[in-house]
Subunit: 420 residues, 2 copies
């Protein structure tokens, strides 16, 4: 087994060749990686079957589903890699430029971070997604997946490295951490001088540990306690449709709505309709019904509601559960969000421009929606074409992180003997 330090040293050394690659070469590598992945599908499925077999007893059904690969999922991973080929290369893009009166030419140019480390859990597709995003953005990746998915990750990485070799590239551009104990994660968090950016992708515990312990730069991703505020001026049908979409279209994801705040003037009118739409009608149509965790004011208005517990306004349910609270006005909604949000995505449903402007100005989250579902917080939906995760921090990147967010910049300044 190679030590994590050896892997980091090899990664750092490989950055030198990567910054000189042309866009065409990187795209050829992506195509070769996708082909190699498909070519190795049987090996990958066999390795994955071993992972699943070894974990079945310990993991719940949802986790086993996340871990399990199929031919269709491998096909999807290859498509994910190929989708990056057509996206613009973020390396070398001129972000800004000007020439001073004295002739000094200043350009601000997009460049790779260097070594990007990703600590993730059991989903094998993160292995190929992260490697491909890193390559296109000119970064060497150090992948540290979960122990339960190690065989799958190793088979995927082996295939991608063979893809790199077919186009004559250094297979050190993709690094898989071989030690899956806690120690290797700690090594990555403390690898000052080796890791230029650490991205934890997974549960709240992993992310908190990285933020608290890391000495290298981290981007915090993921947790989403997303709010929808229904203003007194809201169109009820629109509000109901947005809430149903934000809560039920995919409850397990971070951009799903967890909390509904309703203006007091419409609570008696609106909340019974919300209950009917998300619980009664869905049940009648054979869809999973939503249950509600209600504050005192909303409880009596919602037949499918139960009294909210102490933590219900601070919980990412990731389930068919919605916390509901009646608020005095848009300002009270803003204050509730400031106190309880994770800074991911929040929405206002309103026809009152003053309330809308107040909400979009004062709510301090990565994405603030007006009359739209929180579910659009996604790299593809927002026009980035892809994503490495959704940042809930303010430094460097906020919201979906695409290729540009995986780069930094440098100033390149040309003179003719200019001195100051």
């Amino acid at each position: 087994m190679r030590s994590t330090l050896e892997i980091l040293q090899a990664a750092k050394q490989a950055t030198a060749s990567l910054c000189l690659l042309t866009t065409d070469k990187k795209n050829a590598a992506l195509e070769a990686m996708a082909s190699a992945l498909l070519g190795a599908a049987n090996n990958i499925l066999a390795a994955n079957a071993q992972d699943v077999e070894a974990s079945r007893a310990r993991l719940g059904e949802v986790m086993v589903d996340r871990l399990t690969l199929t031919s269709a999922r491998i096909e999807g991973m290859a498509q994910g890699i190929r989708a990056l080929i057509d996206l613009p290369d973020p390396v070398g893009r001129v972000i800004d430029s000007h020439t001073r009166e004295d002739g000094l030419r200043i350009e601000k140019i997009g460049v790779p971070m260097g070594v990007v480390a990703i600590i993730y859990e059991s989903r094998p597709n993160v292995t190929s997604d992260a490697a491909a995003l890193a390559l296109k953005s000119g970064n060497v990746c150090v992948l540290r997946g979960g122990k339960e998915a190690y065989r799958s990750a190793a088979a995927i990485v082996k295939a991608m490295k063979s893809g790199l070799r077919t186009v004559g590239l250094d297979e050190n551009l993709i690094q898989l951490v071989e030690d899956t104990t806690r120690e290797s994660a700690t090594t990555l968090m403390e690898a000052v001088g080796y890791v230029d950016l650490l991205i934890p992708r997974g549960g709240a515990g992993l992310i908190r540990t990285c933020v608290e312990r890391a000495k290298v730069p981290v981007i915090q991703t993921g947790t989403g306690i997303c709010h929808v505020y229904v203003d007194a001026s809201a169109d009820y049908d629109m509000a109901l449709s947005i809430l149903e979409n934000a809560k039920t279209s995919r409850p397990s994801v971070c951009n799903a709505c967890e909390v509904c705040l309703v203006h007091k003037d419409i609570a008696a009118d609106f909340l019974p309709r919300l209950d009917e739409r998300l619980a009664t009608l869905r049940a009648e149509n054979g869809k999973p019904a939503v249950t509600f965790r209600c504050d005192a004011a909303s409880l009596s208005l919602m037949p499918h509601g139960m009294a909210a517990g102490a933590d219900d306004f601070d919980t990412e349910f990731l389930d068919y559960i919605l916390a509901v609270r009646v608020v005095d006005d848009v300002q009270a909604a803003i204050e509730h969000i400031a106190a309880h949000s994770t800074g991911h995505s929040e929405a206002i449903i309103s026809r009152d421009e003053e309330a809308i402007t107040r909400f979009t100005t004062a709510v301090d989250s990565a994405a603030v929606y007006v009359n739209a579902s929180t579910r659009f917080t996604d790299g593809g939906e927002l026009g980035l074409g892809c994503e490495m995760g959704i940042s809930t921090q303010k430094l460097h990147a906020r919201g979906p992180m695409g290729l540009c967010e995986l780069t930094t910049y440098k100033y390149v300044i040309r003179g003719k003997g200019h001195v100051r």
Copy 2:
């Protein structure tokens, strides 16, 4: 004395009012802060005299000079604040926008970080600079200056707060940490949920401590081991003029050159001229002469050279000292820089476009110069108009940090009932 936690709570609370301020209001506040500073000049000078008196025995001459205020310096501080009035407001700027085919409108908008904490040392002007930059960029600042400058900082902050009051603003927008023990610095570093960005400004020790210990987002500033590489194709006169400027125009600053790398083919020709220009001629003209710390190959070529010690290629001299090394070619220069640079500023002096492209592509520093002095790495010189410090990290901001670099962004997305 207010505790640091109380100060952080007041700062966080004050962010809510700041994000709603118009540009005009912020500019009026800056003008009022500058006027109040000038109006309080006598109080500030008296407080500063006490600081200087108390520290004179303990501090060296350079430190006493840094700490000492004069009427002219206070005038300069007021001018520094007023200079921000004409700069564009980074808050609310539309960084990117598009409307999807389905009508969903996506805007990426510049917004404040929230609370920006600055830990600095003895220069009193940092107090007013940082407060003014934070205000214009919509941030509440928490200032934690050095113990030896506390009376000066308190007098400056008192004046600026009175300025805020004259235009009807909350004086909590500017916070001075009252505890000047190490404990308050630690509190700031660990204030997750209160501090959105921590900027250490000072010596290498302070910066290292912040990077290693902070749990809040940090931007590393300052240390500059800057290199000038003289290629075989260089114009000698240009190289000499750039090296003299980069080394001697202000040796105490972070963008001064500390190391000269010379291509082996011209070493015998060029290095004696460099010695003459920076040592002999300067001495003859009554200017401080440069001394050289030479590798084996350059030592015999430089009459004012001495053999370099083990650390001389990893030292920020901040003095009339230049380390000199002969390298095989541009690739060897790139590798030396990769091993020894702090990622601040490096220059190539060359007429060979291939060597230039190789250097600008492969050197991974905030600013890479072609035929120009490293001394231009400065917010004013590069067109940012001002600066909070020079970032030597890659996350978020690189090089000089102006007003935009003190902001983050959010997506504001408007629909008409859009669901996914």
